[in-house]
């Protein structure tokens, strides 16, 4: 009973983590650097929805489309006018350039939301999804929670198709795997950056609406998710959408079960400790040019086995 409930809690939380991290990792993987303004775009989607549906009274589906479009356009503008100016810089300048510009942007946006819509937490209604629920062996799951899980599944199915069966997806993969070669092979990197940023922004806007509907909407909505997203994206492999899915659900389940035994301090601290250990392990274990820790460990295990066999 406890286990089933915790499993469901973990799946719902994991869906939110995974969707947030997936949109984050697309941008991260392609640009090689985190978008610190991601949480602000997340909240932005929810505020646009709130404006269109709760204040203006449009149907919720219009609100959802409006939110996705508005934030996608915002993302595209940000990429075109701000970030694209930084691409030519050398690595460390590029890294802190993107980090600081997106932090600056996040501050401006958050203040903007607060001034337009106020600091008070807002409620978002999505049809009557919040009120109705189904029983799963004695545990109640609301329709909204089902929608969140379904959205996560649909989101990943879409991304799977996009990445593996479209030219855009191939371009994304190519840039993640070897950016210089992608340029040589004639991938229009500027265009792919723009697509990745716009796509990431559109996805995060939809996720923001759902998240705000599940909880409440505040200007700083999503900041705690942003920190989680780092953990997920790194453990899942940067730029690897399916890795983000696996790591996102794993983290959601871990938190849901860990809370039964541990205080949240230890849960969060343990997550960050795993992250550092992962980096150190990866750096010590992997030789130059290798990318995936799991593949590297596998290879070493094989060679060890062969060594023993001989």
């Amino acid at each position: 009973m406890v286990l089933l409930e915790s499993l469901i809690n973990g799946l719902i939380q994991g869906s939110i983590f995974a969707v947030f991290a997936a949109s984050f990792t697309i941008i991260f993987g392609v640009m090689d650097i985190p978008n610190m303004g991601h949480a602000a775009l997340f909240a932005g989607g929810a505020y646009v929805f709130y404006q269109l549906v709760n204040l203006t009274g449009l149907p919720w589906i219009v609100g959802l489309i409006g939110a996705v479009l508005a934030i996608a356009v915002l993302g595209a503008v940000v990429e075109k006018t701000l970030l694209s100016r930084l691409y030519g810089r050398k690595e460390s300048e590029y890294v802190f350039g993107v980090i600081l510009v997106t932090i600056g942007l996040a501050r401006i946006l958050e203040r903007g939301y607060a001034q337009i819509w106020g600091h008070a937490p807002k409620y978002i209604e999505l049809g009557n999804l919040q009120e109705n629920s189904v029983q799963v062996s004695g545990t109640s799951v609301s329709h909204l929670e089902l929608v969140v899980i379904a959205f996560a599944v649909a989101n990943f199915a879409f991304l799977y198709w996009l990445i593996n069966y479209t030219d855009t997806g191939l371009s994304l993969q190519a840039i993640v795997q070897n950016r210089e070669l992608a340029i040589m092979r004639g991938i229009n990197v500027d265009r792919v950056f723009l697509i990745a940023f716009t796509l990431g922004a559109a996805m995060i806007a939809a996720a923001g609406v759902l998240n705000a509907a599940m909880f409440t909407l505040e200007p700083t909505l999503g900041f705690s998710l942003l920190i989680k997203a780092f953990i997920i994206v790194i453990l899942g492999g940067i730029g690897r959408v399916m890795g983000a899915m696996v790591a996102g659900y794993a983290l959601g389940l871990y938190e849901a079960f860990a809370v039964l035994y541990l205080s949240s301090y230890y849960i969060y601290a343990s997550e960050f400790a795993v992250l550092i250990a992962f980096f150190l392990l990866k750096a010590i274990v992997l030789s130059e040019g290798e990318d995936s820790l799991i593949a590297g460990l596998k290879e070493r295990a094989t060679s060890l086995r062969q060594g023993v066999a001989e």
Partner: protein, 236 residues
């Protein structure tokens, strides 16, 4: 010179404070095989990157089919028929052979889908391994894939950067045959080669790159006679 497909004049390229190429002139006739030899670090790869749009030159002109291409991006050059195959058999390691080729075809929008089959005909080894991850193939196979990536866009000229580097002698022969076959199909080849071996067998014109400058060594026959001396110079 109506049969000249690519020419470079007075090219200068630098990385930061370091000038890598200066006063470089080069002429590639249509349908020919031109080779640039020279010691490691002489600037050969930089020349390839400059011609293919990867690295912007500081000054000078690069003319491809009567158009100055300085400032164009690689994808724009590919669309005009100039493609570059980088050194060290570089492919996308976590993509299958087929995905690697489809990725390479992206800039040549609306290209003929028969091309893929033609390329597979040229490289039967790739045909067999369509669904294999490129990273798991041997160096020689990856080199074939890299060249195939250059060919799927149906180029007029292909730039091959050290295509035999680090390959076994048997594979080097395969690569040589492939180059000749490409040339027979009417594609111009600009080759970069550290060991002069390959150039001796396929090149019609030979250039020597030494200390950032390029020197024309002559047509086949002219340079064959001086082969030993050139070999010595490239080693220096």
């Amino acid at each position: 010179m109506s049969d000249e497909i690519l020419s470079v004049s007075d090219l200068e390229v630098s990385y930061g404070d370091m000038t890598v190429l200066r006063n470089v002139d080069l002429s590639v006739p249509e349908g020919g095989v031109v080779s640039v030899v020279g010691a490691n670090g002489a600037g050969k790869t930089t020349l390839m990157k400059a011609i293919s749009g990867v690295k912007d030159p500081d000054s000078g002109e690069i003319t491809f089919r009567d158009e100055n291409t300085v400032g164009l991006d690689p994808h724009e050059l590919i669309q005009r028929g100039l493609t570059y195959v980088p050194e060290r058999h570089t492919v996308f390691p976590e993509m299958t052979v087929l995905e690697n080729l489809r990725t390479a075809m992206i800039p040549a929008e609306g290209s003929n889908s028969d091309v893929l089959e033609q390329v597979f005909e040229l490289f039967p080894i790739l045909d067999e391994r369509r669904q294999q991850d490129a990273g798991t193939m041997s160096g020689g196979q990856q080199q074939m894939l890299a060249i195939a990536q250059g060919l799927v866009v149906e180029p007029d000229i292909i730039l091959l950067d050290e295509p035999t580097l680090g390959l076994a002698p048997k594979i080097v022969e395969d690569v040589r045959d492939t180059i000749l076959e490409i040339s027979d199909n009417g594609v111009t080849v600009l080759l970069v080669d550290e060991k002069i071996q390959l150039s001796k067998e396929v090149a019609e014109d030979l250039y020597l790159m030494r200390k950032s400058t390029l020197q024309y060594l002559g047509e086949r026959g002219e340079f064959e006679a001086e082969y030993e001396r050139i070999l010595q110079e490239t080693i220096e």
